[in-house]
């Protein structure tokens, strides 16, 4: 069987085989290169959670004092949070733990909403920051909301809690099955969700309540 490939084939089959031997690898190369173009979803939308340098410091030094996180959401909201300390979670390279979280969610129009929580876990894979432990959300219209967890979607920067929350505000005490802080057509909204109950006491309303 001669090693060198004869250039001309007498039948259509061999000619096709020769052409495909060139075509298929070419297609493979093209496919491979475009695949890399689309594969990295991570840094679309919000800026990288924790700036580049912070992540390296957290991952190398293990613990970082006073880290801060800022981000702009796809619906226009902005957030900046700081913590007492942050450290990489042993389980996964993409999980960062932090404690004593405090910061603001800014819906752009209207005043920012203050957030505090005891602990935070940044799950970069799910593009989510989970705040837990004595979560407090306070807006500028006299509403104070207490809950156990608050999820920050790092792409839209919507805040959601699907657990019961207790709120205190101008109408009185608010019990609800969940909370959502988001922007709808440019308007920032705090929404008590999953069923709401408010008890308004006309007799005492308006007097300085302790809250």
């Amino acid at each position: 069987m001669s090693m060198s490939q004869p250039r001309h084939f007498d039948n259509r089959h061999s000619r096709w085989v020769a052409r495909l031997k060139i075509l298929f690898p070419l297609i493979a190369v093209i496919l491979l290169s475009t695949m890399f173009l689309f594969s990295d979803k991570r840094d679309q939308g919000s800026s990288l959670p924790f700036s580049e340098i912070e992540i390296d410091r957290i991952l190398t030094e293990g613990r970082v004092a006073k880290p801060s996180y800022t981000g702009v959401g796809s619906n226009g909201a902005a957030i900046n949070l700081s913590a007492a300390e942050a450290w990489p979670n042993a389980e996964g390279p993409y999980t960062i733990e932090a404690n004593e979280i405090a910061g603001e969610w800014d819906g752009v129009s209207g005043n920012p909403i203050a957030l505090t929580a005891k602990t935070g876990r940044l799950l970069e894979r799910q593009n989510q920051l989970r705040l837990t432990g004595g979560v407090l959300v306070r807006d500028s219209h006299g509403y104070l909301i207490e809950g156990e967890t608050l999820l920050v979607d790092l792409t839209t920067l919507d805040l959601t809690s699907d657990q019961d929350i207790i709120g205190f505000g101008p109408p009185g005490r608010i019990d609800a099955g969940g909370l959502k802080v988001t922007r709808v057509q440019g308007t920032p909204l705090v929404i008590f969700t999953n069923g709401v109950r408010v008890l308004y006491q006309p007799a005492t309303a308006g007097r300085e309540t302790d809250k």
Binding site: G110, H141, F192, T193, G195, L199, P202, A203
Partner: protein, 144 residues
């Protein structure tokens, strides 16, 4: 011109607690407007007011937290011990106990029903006035 009506011995204490239940409460962060949305039910004493949406207006200037008025929209119904009234919209000023229902108003008292464009009720005194093309509607036995 309007038809005076009396509500069966209703004397509402307007300082009684008001409970509001709904699917959602939305607080607009730009202007602070609070809106209850979805199966909203307001209960105060013997009175129940339900609607699709209820906006809460606070007393301006006065001590923060005093509700001045509730504005209900969308399949509004007002239930009192002996009456039921429906309309498209309604407002309820809590301090004065005044409810004003507007838009295809139908007030049912026992067998008789009164239809009109506007019904004003004072929950404290138990009196009211229907106005705007007022007509009495007799419930046929088959109607509820």
């Amino acid at each position: 011109q309007g038809t005076g009506i009396s509500l069966g011995g209703l004397t509402q204490d307007t300082s009684a607690p008001v409970e509001v239940v709904a699917n959602e409460l939305q607080v607009n962060q730009t202007d602070g407007q609070a809106t209850f949305i979805g199966d909203v039910l307001v209960t105060q004493g013997d009175m129940k007011l339900s609607a699709d949406r209820i906006l809460v207006d606070y007393a301006t200037g006065g001590a923060q937290g005093r509700i001045e008025k509730l504005t209900a929209n969308g399949s509004v119904t007002l239930i009192t011990p002996e009456e039921a009234a429906e309309s498209r919209a309604a407002t309820y000023v809590i301090d004065t106990g005044e409810v004003v229902m507007t838009g295809d108003v139908l007030l049912t008292q026992g067998d008789t029903a009164l239809a009109g464009e506007k019904l004003t009720i004072n929950l404290e005194t138990g009196t009211g006035q229907m106005s705007g093309r007022v007509r009495t509607v007799f419930q046929t036995k088959s109607g509820q």
